[in-house]
């Protein structure tokens, strides 16, 4: 087949999917909350992409790692915003502005890696359990039950405490722990979706003409079941960033001085009472990074809420 014919065929095949996509985008545009959410997310994407321009690295104290916040001196007490440090400096003279800007990239990195990792494990387990059923299903689902028997934050905490002494870098340990805690929810969702389409006529037809399991799963089952789950799951990035920030606040985050919103707030804890003359003296150490986290999570949650309704087949065409 010529390339041109192949392309034509691809276009014809994609036709219904493109139509659905256009319909989805139309629904998104009609929902004000999701538009606000998208706007906020877009803002953070631009902020992250422009980080090297907005906060150029290269300070001596960073030792060549752009994610380390530059340090201006060794004084302990935070310094208020000034032209040199637009958001002030935190405990140990780390520049808060730099930390907040580069923290955006850290947030995306944490969110995307954790969701990606959890989805991959969730997909494999969910497909195996849902498609093959029987004892494989029983075994895998009982295993997910066991992980779901733990409160997520606590299990993640325990995993980090065990992973760090093994010599894994702190932020990696946090992300790994979150993946290990996060996948069971997705595997359940995916399994459910696969069970829904597994006995449809077109799957039976594919089986009867002798397609391999791999082909049936990738060409027939997955496209008709999990794509919407995958899209909606991506929007859990906000929740994951919140989760990581909470761990970071408990002292289980990136190494000291790393641009991470949760850590900046964690290090501001000694300064929240200000001084006797001015109780709000050090407001900038926690208000500003807190706003960054809150808006980031809010953006993803707003879009996620709206998309969940949009992708819900019972509500979609009402």
């Amino acid at each position: 087949m010529s390339i041109r014919a192949r392309f034509q065929r691809f276009r014809t095949e994609m036709q219904p999917r493109m139509k659905e996509l256009r319909f989805t985008l139309k629904l998104v545009r009609k929902s004000p909350l999701s538009m606000i959410g998208s706007g906020v997310i877009l803002f953070f994407v631009i902020l992250g992409a422009l980080a090297p321009v907005l906060a150029p690295p290269g300070d001596m104290s960073q030792a060549g790692d752009p994610f380390m916040m530059p340090k201006d001196g060794i004084k302990l007490i935070p310094q208020p915003p000034s032209p040199k440090h637009p958001f002030g400096t935190m405990e140990g003279q780390y520049d808060i502005y730099y930390g907040c800007i580069w923290g955006t990239l850290t947030a995306f990195r944490i969110g995307l890696s954790v969701i990606g990792g959890s989805l991959i494990i969730g997909l494999v387990i969910g497909i195996l359990a849902g498609y093959y059923g029987g004892w494989i299903d029983e075994l895998l689902m009982r295993f997910t039950d066991i992980i779901l028997a733990f409160p997520g934050l606590i299990l993640a905490m325990a995993l980090v405490v065990v992973l760090v002494p093994l010599g894994i870098e702190r932020l990696d340990a946090v992300m790994l722990a979150m993946v290990l805690v996060g996948w069971p929810g997705y595997s359940r969702l995916i399994r459910g979706e696969i069970l829904r389409v597994k006995n449809e006529d077109y799957v039976e037809a594919a089986k009867s003409v002798g397609c391999s399991d791999l082909r049936i799963i990738s060409r027939h089952v997955l496209p008709n079941s999990v794509y919407s789950v995958l899209i909606v799951s991506t929007l859990d990035i906000g929740t994951m960033v919140l989760f990581a920030a909470a761990l970071s606040f408990l002292g289980l985050g990136a190494k000291p001085g790393y641009s991470d919103w949760g850590q900046i707030i964690s290090l501001s804890r000694n300064w929240i009472y200000g001084s006797p003359q001015n109780p709000y003296q050090y407001w900038y150490t926690f208000i500003i990074p807190g706003l960054f986290i809150s808006f980031f999570v809010l953006g993803w949650n707003l879009l996620g809420d709206a998309l969940r309704d949009i992708f819900d087949p019972t509500l979609r065409r009402k």
């Binding site: 009982r142 733990f150 299990l155 920030a245």
Partner: protein, 345 residues
């Protein structure tokens, strides 16, 4: 299936999950080097010198299943969860801090449920009105605001700024009073708000409440959001049913339709989620406890985790898994009791 059969079946089903959870913790601990694992068995700081003896005694050099047996026996029979960095047995340390956690949950859970159900019903009955938008915004805020940051902001305003609601469990004067050598104070339940009433020291009660206001407020704002969401959607579903149309056709007022017909049916899923919420609150307070320095069991685990003190973290994880599974069991049984369709289905 009768209720009894259902309860027994559900009990039996939760045993493998519980066992699996314990096994999982054991497996996680197995990743640690042997010397670190031995510290999980230490009950007395003097034992540190006899690490090799502990390794032999608890079979840490034996095959994995033997080790599992030894460990399980130590945990179940002797309640031996090891020693924390202050040379205190982890089990005792956790039990000493449990009342602080119970006290927060005791005040927060009724508030969470009432606020959640009330706002949920209200916004479901007034879809797309001002109340509805308001409570939806609250719900989204509840899931988006970092609780620790929110706590810090409240502390900065209401303690540092206004001096109304201090952190920690009680003030210095209370501490002086209850730890004085000739004190008349007696502990009964270890809950400061209840014991102060029994002791007749009302000023201590007031002090205890003042210390509880901020953590309870945060927990209510952040956790009722989930209940609002579930109640709202089940209210909407219930309002779309035929019996509502019938009730309206009879000429009942909107108030009566909502209160007598829609609400009753909408509350069943809402109550389940409330039960689960309270169950998860015991561990969900970890961050709030830490922010407000309430001295609870979650704070103990979190502070141990910060310095990589493993035994308390493992002990707490174990305890919380058991508590979580058992409370889910209780919720399920209650639910089956309330709704016969569950046990018959």
């Amino acid at each position: 299936m009768g209720l009894r059969t259902y309860v027994i079946r559900r009990l039996l089903l939760s045993i493998p999950v519980l066992f699996g959870a314990v096994l999982l913790i054991f497996a996680v601990v197995q990743f640690l080097p042997i010397g670190l694992r031995a510290t999980l068995f230490i009950q007395d700081p003097r034992q540190v010198r006899f690490i090799d003896q502990i390794i032999a005694e608890h079979g840490l050099d034996q095959p994995v299943y033997v080790q599992f047996y030894y460990w399980l026996r130590a945990v179940l029979v002797e309640q031996n969860l090891g020693l924390d960095r202050n040379a205190e047995p982890v089990f005792n340390a956790m039990m000493a801090r449990l009342p602080a956690t119970v006290e927060i949950v005791m005040f927060a859970s009724p508030l969470i449920v009432l606020v959640g159900l009330y706002l949920g019903v209200l916004s479901g009955a007034n879809k797309d009105k001002l109340v509805d938008h308001g409570s939806r915004i609250l719900a989204i805020m509840g899931t988006s605001l970092p609780s620790f940051w929110f706590g810090i902001v409240l502390l900065s305003i209401f303690y540092a700024g206004l001096g109304w609601f201090p952190p920690s469990r009680w003030g210095q004067e209370v501490n002086k009073f209850i730890t004085a050598p000739n004190t008349t104070w007696t502990w009964y339940t270890r809950l400061i708000t209840i014991d102060s009433l029994i002791n007749g020291e009302y000023w201590i009660f007031v002090d205890g409440i003042r210390h509880l206001v901020l953590p309870v407020t945060i927990l209510t704002l952040l956790n009722s959001a989930v209940i609002v969401r579930v109640t709202r959607s089940s209210m909407l579903e219930s309002l779309g049913k035929d019996y509502i149309t019938a009730a309206k056709a009879k000429g009942l007022s909107k108030r009566e339709v909502v209160n007598r017909h829609a609400r009753r049916n909408a509350l069943i899923p809402a109550i389940t989620i409330s039960g689960l919420m309270i169950a998860s609150l015991f561990t969900g307070v970890t961050i709030t406890e830490t922010v407000f320095n309430m001295g609870g069991i979650g704070q103990y685990a979190a502070e141990s985790a910060r310095v990589l003190d493993i035994p308390p973290v493992i002990g707490y994880t174990l305890l919380s898994a058991v508590a979580f599974v058992l409370s889910n069991l209780v919720v399920d049984i209650l639910y089956a009791y309330v709704d016969p369709r569950i046990r018959l289905g």
